[in-house]
Symmetry: D5
Subunit: 146 residues, 10 copies
């Protein structure tokens, strides 16, 4: 997977400035995961957000326009090969149908929205080894009949 040039530029500037995504979260008033999605052109910032970001990173304002355009989303590949990302794919291979059963039981026939959706990552300290906590929250969308 080749990383887009704009993403490389943003990541390099962030490193140069010694900023973390958590720092940017405070500056923009947006979650760190969402900001990382803007870095990868998977989410579009408002012009104001784009300006704040570009300024914080000390980059040229020419990036503002691109960051506020609506991107073609989806980073591929079909089956991810990076072990960190693959684990999420595996989770769906193993727990996908069980999740479907439980959601249907709790909500009826429909889906969890991936658009009206938020995702947070937290660090759970644990003496047996810290844990990654991923919290997804998506609006339930019932199938419309017509």
């Amino acid at each position: 997977m080749s990383i887009p040039e704009i993403t490389q530029a943003l990541l390099a500037a962030k490193k140069e400035k010694g900023l973390t995504f958590a720092d940017l979260e405070k500056i923009l008033g947006r979650d760190e995961v969402w900001i990382a999605s803007v870095f990868y052109r998977q989410a579009s910032a408002s012009e104001e957000e784009a300006k704040l970001l570009v300024e914080a990173l000390g980059l040229d304002t020419i990036y503002v326009r691109e960051l506020s355009e609506y991107p073609v989303k989806g980073l591929g590949p079909i089956v991810p090969t990076d072990p960190l990302i693959y684990r999420f794919y595996e989770i769906m291979q193993v727990y996908g149908m069980p999740i479907k059963e439980v959601i249907h039981e709790k909500f009826g026939d429909g889906i969890m929205s991936a658009i009206d959706f938020t995702l947070n990552i937290e660090k759970e300290e644990d003496s047996k080894g810290d844990r990654v906590k991923v919290i997804m929250s998506g609006k339930f969308l019932p199938y419309k009949k017509w």
Copy 2:
């Protein structure tokens, strides 16, 4: 995707008995998602857990052995076509790399385990439409150097 016969038998018995996965959670002392995974032969129960489950569902004890065997996991297909499951695949297509960036920043080079791992589903009531909350927690595993 064809659903395995044992899964069909368990689901039919559960319906017959009017039980929810939440009811089974109380009986087995295990989370409802994990129990649904046992239904789909993606997790193996202990003999005791299998007995409790088979009893609760009013099924023949011949199922006990099979439910406690270690299954071949993974339900396919490569790209899921069911809309509910696809949304999780889409989340990884769109937010996979941003998640990777944030986890690396918080934890260093490594992954979230999908084995030392739990997954819970909650219903968030919301006046603008209820929300599905999915909480994943996996041990962080740093890459070993040698």
Copy 3:
């Protein structure tokens, strides 16, 4: 592509009774396309709807339960080979990105829901050859920021 047994049974009964989907539309008070989706187990009927349908088709009531369960959706294959269905795939190959541009221009960054969604088919009589009119209507879902 093999057609599920329940679908075959419903289609055979419909033929036997000399009913069209338009006739069933009047009986159920639901659109003919949605009813055809119930035939293919891509939509779940309420118990009442399932009863009405089974009765109209003169079938055994044992079908009622299955028709009201929440199905695993998606009929495959990845690239359709049936010429009628392929044309819709081709439309997306050719006009997908242009549609994306126009929707973004009219609505902003987001998608057309395929869940809060209806689809109608009409016959447009035309002296140069009748035309198939397909009308899709899906709720616009803007990307949530967080």
Copy 4:
């Protein structure tokens, strides 16, 4: 998916000029979706249309020739990863066979043309959330026997 250079140039010029596809619809006397298809080199303009378009966008006339050539069509990938475009793919996965049944019932054995074909997008205002309306109209082509 990499966007062709000519498309990028046209989109940039359109943004620069502050034009919408709806504005171009008035200038060219062609539908906005069709014009967006010309941008993506999925439809070929007549020389006159190409001139009007290039002029409106304030671009060099060297683009006129390319825009009137007959393009190799189809933008890929096999399964779209962009969520907006994927939803149309999902619609065919879920409703493809039901649509086939209803078209056959209304028209007989044949297909909806994707060549003698038009596609319009409208915004339906709705207090519960605006809706995207997509209207396709294709000539019915009955299978020829010989």
Copy 5:
């Protein structure tokens, strides 16, 4: 590739009766290739044609209904492995773009219909080895602008 049961029954009956497709051509008043397509459920016969065929083959009339239904078409696989069929795939790999150029030059932007379409096979006797002649004729469909 597994051959459908109805096809096997028709082919066996044809062999039993000692009939060729050319013989059936005379009986039905339809081309032999089209009749072979009916055998493989890739074309639907009228009830009258189905009756003639079933009678000629000495089969039960229960086949009449199935042969006049509108089939799901396309026999797969994606890349054919049978050498005879693969050669046609190879012809498109090698000569596809050249054919596109020549058709565009003769007709403009559009396609050859595969629906309003006929295909004949003739044997050309030749002292250096007989030749297979395949003649396709499809209506030219110009791309509609809108």
Copy 6:
């Protein structure tokens, strides 16, 4: 699908000179489809043919060598996305097995050669819409036993 540079150069020169493939047919004494195949480097010209072609197009003689080399053939992709080329793929999906039956009946076990092979395209004028006629002729090659 990206078009090779040499093909682009040849097509541009042909347009510049206002030549059709039919014109080139007269100059080279070879069929227009075959010449288009040379343009796409799917057929190799003799040095003499290459010279005639390069001259007719007013191009530099450096192209002569490349046009007479034996090319790596096959233009991909696996399933064509261009609608004109896809129709030929669809024809094989739908009529492939019927064609196989008829060829076997007329010739025995073997194939139609795609090497000792010619392909012509004609325009059939027709008041209900002109038709594209494609005539393929390949030597029948019987399977050798040994």
Copy 7:
């Protein structure tokens, strides 16, 4: 890969009779590899050859008809997983283009026929380990120009 029933029956009978393919070579007057191809329904025997084979194996004469029909060829899968067969696939991955160069140099633009083709297998005794010798011989087919 599932082995066809007829193949299993033939192999079982051959084992029962204690016959080798080399023995059958003497009985039929055909090469052992070709006979093995008949076993797998990749080659069609004449009625006489089929009778000889069925007799030698002590099988019912009902097999004679099937063995003399023209089969659908190609055993899949796309990339073979059996190590013995994979090695031949690897040979083409590694030496395919070099072979192409040498054949073109010796013969010009064309191919080695896989139809007018024979294949023999010999055992070369060698003190450092016996060797498998595979000899293929196919008619060279030059590309026809037209």
Copy 8:
């Protein structure tokens, strides 16, 4: 398939010098097919062999190092589209299992090595058309038990 730059350089130099692979065979004392494999970086030459080759082709000695490095092998694609190379793929599709049967019968459970392996190409003159003879010889490797 794009041909590596070094391969292009070697082929161009060979053409310039008017050398055949057979000529190089005499100079290097290696088989022409093996030498063609060195051209395509599918085999590694010793430094001495590389020097002889580079000298014979009149190329700069900077190529010597690269030609003697151990290459990443395999030229793809998964299913070859070039007709000459495809025929070898087809041979394995059609005759793969029969070959496996015969090798097992002659040698037991094991494979033909593709590493301790040679491949020669000869021209068999034949009045009915010259034939391409391909002779492969690979050490038989029996499966080790442990």
Copy 9:
């Protein structure tokens, strides 16, 4: 992945008898992994070994013949979905090229045989969590030049 019937029968008998693969190792004098490979029909036993195994498991002697036949090997799928097996696939995705570098440095141009090959699994007790040790040993096969 469906497990072959014979494998299921062997595993069930082994469970019934309360035997481990380590027990069978003592009975057959073969490694436990190799014996497990015989269970899955990926390795062929000698008749004597097959008899010992069938006897130890208390099964009918009809299994002896099948277990000593040379199997079609390779269990698929292309990308394994079972997490335990996938990890080995991931190891090759991540460490494949580094392994290649180190083997080439130590041995020259060639491969590790997967035929003249053994594989052992050991349990390493470790206070921080036991470890799985996998030891592979394959003969180095240098590429033959010819």
Copy 10:
């Protein structure tokens, strides 16, 4: 597979200096396979390790930063074509399920970690031909229940 530029630079410098991975093992105090993984950007070095490596290779210190960043891992392709790497893929195709059985028997339901993992390569001298020994050691991770 194209090798990343940084990898090429490191390999070239290593060759220039006449260093082996075993030499680098002594300098860095890390295993040679792990160091080769750093070369291919499949493992991240600490800043100190990166400095030692860059110094040993006589390269510019600008490489230090990149070598200590956390890489996107996985080198593809899905099915490897290089024979050395393919053998490991084949080992998993053939012995994957047997390995799973033996690990489950020794450890219970869980996996061998590919993260808390080491891999060593040794040369076993053997008069019948040297052997490649690959030793993997991964922590056993039992499936967590919740």
